[in-house]
């Protein structure tokens, strides 16, 4: 039987070589090697977010913009710290992070607080949502797994059992919360990493067919009434003009009435007069689009595309499987946040409670995203070294 993992090189020799390299590589040099365009885009995105939060509070830093600014500051520091840290550390501790995130997910089952579909652990200064951290941890763990896996082994069924388990356990835990949106994102994220790792096309096609077949079963047994409601309402918003359908309708009115150039900063009637629900969290994009119009929303989407483009450029520079899978997986995480949130507020996807990355008010998603960007920066800083 062929070995599942490639033979290990001499640990001591490798470590000695690396510590020599690390000494020569000063912090300053690492900072210079960061992807500064990416940092500028991230700051721009977060800056837009703060401005909109200022507007959402009727032209006030309280209660959202100031706190979000502090979180972004912390996030920025975290990102730079992670970026400057030797990349191999992250590979080595990938499973440890995963285990820690899983532990938090179990903990939230036991001691978590929250209402409806949101569950969090109160840390005093902020509420930690373990399902958010799990997204980054899962990408880390899967990237590490496929990095270690022999490329030729990937299409063996047995090789897919560990990643399936890595994904299924947190996904089920999150679904139990119940948070269908995040659970779905976890599965799609895992699928993205597995696809990148090189699993044969036809297997994805098969999985898609199986998922479609499982749909009715899931509809019957796995979904809660309110989740079924949301999907039905998405398909036909008029069936619930005061509940979720009302949110979508008001959001579309907000978007559409923004027109080409918008109603001006803090001038959005739909948002300022509270017709728009959750204007500082899930529906913040609508506020932006209402006040800055089509050009404002296109600008935001352009920045996001720029961020993704930077990520792919980083990936192309990386010479390790782990780095590439991690960068693409984290980029995909960012993409799914953005796509699902914007699709939701525009009425092309069901209302699932996913924040707009870097813009929506909320600590966990901001910090996990910044940690993710930290990993990407770290990969860039250490692209030449394995």
């Amino acid at each position: 039987m062929r070995p599942l993992l490639p033979p290990r090189r001499s640990q001591t020799a490798l470590l000695q070589a690396r510590s020599r390299e690390d000494e020569a590589d000063t912090i300053w040099r690492r900072v210079l090697r960061m992807d500064w365009l990416l940092i500028v885009l991230i700051v721009a995105l977060a800056g837009i977010g703060l401005a909109i939060l200022y507007s959402a509070a009727d032209g006030s830093w309280q209660p959202w913009a100031d706190r979000q600014a502090v979180r972004f500051g912390i996030g920025l520091a975290l990102m730079l710290t992670i970026a400057a840290t030797a990349f191999r550390i992250w590979r080595r501790f990938a499973y440890v992070f995963y285990a820690a995130a899983l532990l938090l997910l179990v903990a939230v089952e036991l001691v978590g607080v929250g209402d409806g579909s949101q569950r969090w652990i109160s840390l005093g200064f902020m509420n930690l949502q373990p399902s958010e951290t799990m997204k980054v941890a899962l990408v880390l763990a899967l990237a590490r797994y496929f990095h270690d896996l022999d490329a030729n082994q990937i299409d063996r069924a047995i090789a897919l059992i560990p990643p399936a388990l890595l994904t299924a356990v947190p996904a089920l835990l999150v679904m139990r919360q119940p948070d269908l949106g995040t659970a779905t994102i976890l599965i799609v994220l895992a699928a993205t990493v597995i696809f990148m790792a090189g699993l044969a096309w036809w297997k994805f096609a098969l999985a898609a067919i199986l998922a479609a077949a499982a749909g009715p079963v899931a509809w019957q047994y796995l979904l809660h009434d309110y989740q079924r409601d949301r999907i039905l309402t998405f398909l036909d918003p008029s069936r619930d003009p005061h509940g979720a359908g009302y949110h979508i309708l008001q959001s579309k009115i907000g978007l559409g009435s923004g027109g080409l150039f918008g109603k001006g900063f803090t001038g959005g009637t739909q948002s300022q007069l509270s017709f728009l629900p959750e204007k500082h969290t899930d529906f913040i994009f609508t506020l932006l689009a209402e006040e800055f119009g089509f050009f404002g929303s296109i600008l935001l989407v352009s920045i996001m595309i720029g961020i993704l483009a930077c990520c792919y450029a980083v990936m192309a520079r990386c010479q390790s499987v782990f780095a590439r899978l991690l960068v693409v997986g984290l980029a995909a995480n960012f993409f799914f946040y953005a796509f699902i949130n914007m699709g939701m507020v525009m009425g092309v996807l069901p209302v699932v409670g996913v924040p707009l990355p870097m813009v929506s008010y909320g600590g966990t998603s901001m910090l996990t995203l910044m940690i993710g960007f930290g990993f990407i920066q770290s990969a860039n800083v250490h692209a030449g070294r394995l």
Binding site: A151, L273, G293, V301, F335, M346
Partner: protein
């Protein structure tokens, strides 16, 4: 070579990741492209449509009912007007301690415990910025006490509303009508109609002239948030108060005319013979229109609706009675115009006329002897008109009656007018499927049988006889000089009309005239006219054989209606009148005196108010 194979393998792996990354990136770009396309659709293509929806969300139109126009009589005396009442509302979020506020209010304007309970309950149900009414229908004195303490009463709002009042009450109830709350069937989608203070005309002039009386509601365009709180005012339109409607009616004449009826029921109409302007339109019994604006109680409504003497019905325009002998002028005119009789053609009245198997009686059982058309009208000889009707037939009688406006609605500016009925052969066949009988022509010849007319039609008919054959269009709305054209002529020769008019003057002046006793005792105000008796019950052959019971001997509802139509002054006619006293017995005894007094009063008031 094993290592290099492994490295090649790894390179292939990395290359595959790059390829798939490219695909994934392209996919993500396509995803954002999809969203951008959707945004283009929402924000550019459909933007105007959503802009409208956003404005509908945030812009609210608030209406305030315009003061309703006043209705006055021809001399400017108010018939329907508005009284301001006040109400107090508390805005909970501005009131602070609501209980304490209600205590303080209670000391200034007493608040019943159950009303207090209602207020507190409503406050719990509504949002804190929505005012809750605590007091309704307060007078100026009450409100002045509250207003003086307004500094101690945070969140208290005082609002004035108009209440419709009818100063002359029942005397003009049928003409002026009344207003009431808007019924479901009256809703047209106009938001003003849904306002709780809105009242619309339900009957009479209030209904016919509702549009001008209503005016234009004040409109405020405000921006509201999702909870309905007003953020700011965007636009304000003060609206227009309702216009004053001046009626031709003389309220004093209405009052005195109603008094003339006493306990009797019936109707009377006084009309200007040249213009058709109605000076009095009396219907007895009447009702209190003040019961309606605030919503009439069920008990009161049922009482009015089911009363046997129908107080809600305007009998002057909706009561249809057999005109009796007041119809004879038209039969005479039809006979004279046809050439079948001349002014001097004599008939002999023996008190009864036989035709086929039928016997037709004159009211004067002894007979009038030899009479011509003049005598026949003066003495109201039935036999003469039987004979005329036999000679000329029903069609000629019907044609003449229609020229005078009978048998169809006159188009008066009041709701509920009835057309009356002028029968003819075609109508009989249509209605009963049987051909016309000659005997029916005879009965029609004295205004009985199928013939029906409203008091309004009889007054208009009389006006037409008195004004030289011009068909006036009756109206209660006052028209100023130029508004009235000369009414069209109905094409009867003036000499022919003069014969009939002279006979009508004879009715009240000839020693044999049926209404001699009722003549107005002023030389320049004297009237001409015609009595009439409208049979409510057919006199049976058996009763004829024994003795025709006198009206006083019959139960009231079987007694004849008493009628009189007249005009005055005879020298230069100005007013026409018609009076019907239900179950009053004979026209000469009961109706003629009322008509005479109405005509006298009309002339007196004209003198008193004439501009010279």
């Amino acid at each position: 070579m094993r290592r290099s194979a492994q490295e090649r393998n790894a390179e292939r792996h990395l290359a595959r990741i790059s390829r798939r990354g490219l695909i994934l990136g392209a996919g993500q770009l396509a995803g954002f492209g999809l969203l951008a396309g959707r945004m283009y659709q929402l924000q550019v293509v459909e933007a105007s449509q959503y802009a409208v929806l956003a404005d509908e969300n945030r812009i609210d139109l608030r209406y305030a009912v315009a003061p309703r126009g006043v209705i006055v009589d021809r001399f400017g005396q108010p018939l329907a007007t508005n009284r301001t009442t006040y109400r107090i509302a508390a805005i909970p979020e501005q009131a602070g301690d609501l209980e304490a506020l209600l205590d303080r209010l209670d000391r200034l304007a007493p608040l019943a415990p159950e009303q207090r309970q209602r207020v507190l309950e409503q406050v719990r149900r509504q949002r804190a910025f929505v005012p809750v009414i605590t007091h309704n229908n307060l007078s100026w004195r009450d409100i002045a006490r509250v207003a003086a303490r307004s500094a101690d009463l945070p969140g208290v709002e005082i609002a004035a509303t108009d209440e419709r009042v009818y100063p002359v009450g029942e005397f003009c109830a049928h003409v002026v009508g009344y207003v009431g709350a808007v019924a479901k069937k009256d809703l047209t989608g106009d938001p003003v109609l849904s306002l709780p203070d809105m009242r619309i005309g339900k009957s009479g002039a209030e209904r016919v002239y509702d549009t001008s009386l209503r005016g234009q509601a004040a409109r405020r365009q405000v921006e509201v948030n999702a909870l309905g709180r007003v953020i700011r005012e965007l636009d304000r339109d003060p609206g227009k108060p309702g216009r004053t409607v001046r009626l031709a009616i003389d309220a004093e004449l209405q009052r005195q005319g109603a008094d003339l009826f006493g306990q009797e029921t019936g109707a009377a109409v006084v009309m200007d013979i040249h213009s058709g302007q109605i000076a009095a339109l009396i219907s007895r019994p009447s009702f209190d229109p003040g019961l309606f604006p605030d919503g009439i109680s069920h008990a009161n409504w049922n009482r009015l609706l089911n009363a046997p003497d129908a107080p809600l019905v305007n009998k002057a325009i909706a009561g249809q009675y057999a005109p009796g002998s007041t119809f004879k002028m038209l039969v005479a005119l039809a006979g004279l115009e046809s050439g079948q009789i001349s002014p001097t053609t004599p008939f002999h009245c023996t008190g009864v006329m036989e035709l086929g198997n039928g016997r037709f009686h004159c009211w004067h059982r002894g007979g009038h002897g030899t009479v011509n058309v003049h005598d026949a009208i003066v003495q109201s000889c039935d036999i003469f008109f039987y004979e005329v009707a036999r000679r000329i037939g029903i069609e000629r009688i019907a044609a003449m009656a229609r020229r005078f406006g009978l048998g169809g609605r006159m188009g008066i500016d009041l709701p509920g007018e009835q057309p009356g009925l002028i029968p003819d052969k075609a109508w009989k066949l249509r209605r009963f499927g049987r051909p016309w009988q000659i005997g029916e022509s005879l009965v029609a010849g004295i205004g009985q049988g199928y013939v029906l007319a409203t008091p309004l039609q009889l007054a208009a008919m009389t006006a037409c006889l008195a004004n030289g054959g011009r068909a006036v269009k009756p109206a209660v709305m006052a028209q100023t000089g130029d508004g009235i054209g000369r009414p069209p002529t109905i094409g009867i020769a003036p000499e022919t009309l003069a014969i009939v008019r002279k006979a009508m003057i004879g009715v009240t002046s000839d020693p044999l005239g049926t209404a001699l006793a009722a003549q107005i005792p002023h030389e320049h105000m004297q009237m001409g006219g015609k009595t009439g008796t409208s049979q409510v019950r057919r006199i049976s052959q058996r009763e004829r054989r024994t003795r025709v019971l006198r009206n006083e001997e019959r139960p009231r509802e079987e007694r004849d209606h008493a009628l009189f139509v007249g005009f005055a002054p005879v020298q230069a006619p100005r007013f026409a009148v018609s009076v019907i006293v239900e179950h009053g017995g004979g026209g000469s005894r009961v109706a003629a005196p009322i008509a005479a007094e109405l005509l006298r009063l009309s002339q007196m008031r004209l003198l008193r108010h004439s501009p010279t």
